[in-house]
């Protein structure tokens, strides 16, 4: 009886310790993901990040990235062509890290800001803020997400410009 109780106590201790360890590992993992939620590629960051924030590949499905990469000469009213080697590298990177694209709207050029996901996430932002001179366009992520350039879109870091 005494031995059984000791055994039970030992089992319980092992169970609690391993659960705590597992939870802390999960927490560390989640923290790491929130700090660096997106994949990275130097060519993608340099080329796509030279006129706007390098939008994370997960925000559009592969088919939409493919369409965008195929029409860089008419990229939202500007010529954004890159050399063939860079285009191939960026295209492969986007395809490998693309989102699944639930609830997207496909009309004209693929726009992240017209996806249902984007609309849902930004539904509470007042129109006056979106249209202000500090924001100008909903595609100007960095106006409210200070870490946008490094891929940090954490909700808690959001600062709406006055």
């Amino acid at each position: 009886m005494k031995i059984e109780r000791k055994r039970l106590l030992f089992d319980l201790t092992v169970w609690i310790t391993s659960s705590l360890l597992a939870f802390s590992l999960l927490a560390i993992d989640a923290q790491a993901k929130s700090r660096n939620p997106i994949a990275d590629n130097a060519t993608w960051r340099a080329e796509c990040g030279s006129c706007h924030v390098a939008f994370p590949p997960a925000l559009l499905p592969a088919a939409d990235w493919h369409r965008l990469m195929g029409s860089l000469d008419r990229h939202f009213g500007a010529d954004a062509t890159v050399d063939a080697k860079s285009a191939a590298e960026i295209g492969a990177f986007l395809a490998a890290n693309a989102g699944r694209g639930e609830g997207r709207v496909t009309e004209g050029q693929p726009r992240i800001t017209t996806t249902r996901w984007f609309q849902h996430e930004h539904g509470k932002v007042p129109a006056a803020v979106m249209g202000s001179s500090a924001v100008r366009t909903a595609a100007n992520c960095a106006a409210c997400h200070p870490g946008a350039a490094t891929g940090d879109f954490n909700e808690h870091a959001v600062r709406l410009p006055r």
């Binding site: 006129c51 500007a78 010529d79 954004a80 062509t81 100008r136 595609a139 100007n140």
Partner: protein
Amino acid sequence: MPSAARRFLSVLAVASTLSAAAAHAVTPDQLQAEYETIARKEAPGFAGFSATRGAEFFRSTHGTNWSCATCHTAKPVAEGRHARTGNIIRPLAPAANAERFTDSAKVEKWFKRNCGDVLGRGCTAQEKGDVIAFLRSLN
């Protein structure tokens, strides 16, 4: 993969990156000389580049809504802003940004894009050389 093969491949990768970078690295003088060679072929009457002509070209709209100055400012020792996205554009004049006109591939990439957007056509070597002469005259 055996470690020797991996080491060989990484050395190869570094070497090819370096040689690609070296192929594009120029001084603004060398770049101007390259444009002069092309300009002489394009127009037999070529009579040199002009900072004054470059300034006028830079600040004019050429039948579209945009001029070079729309995004780069009329005196680009200052930071500019992308007309559509609002992104900060670092100064274009070498006096304010020594990186400018030191990478021929980068210069050609942006001339191709921006001449298309502003003029609706590619720029001639004369126009490119004039603009660079203007930008190098700023301080």
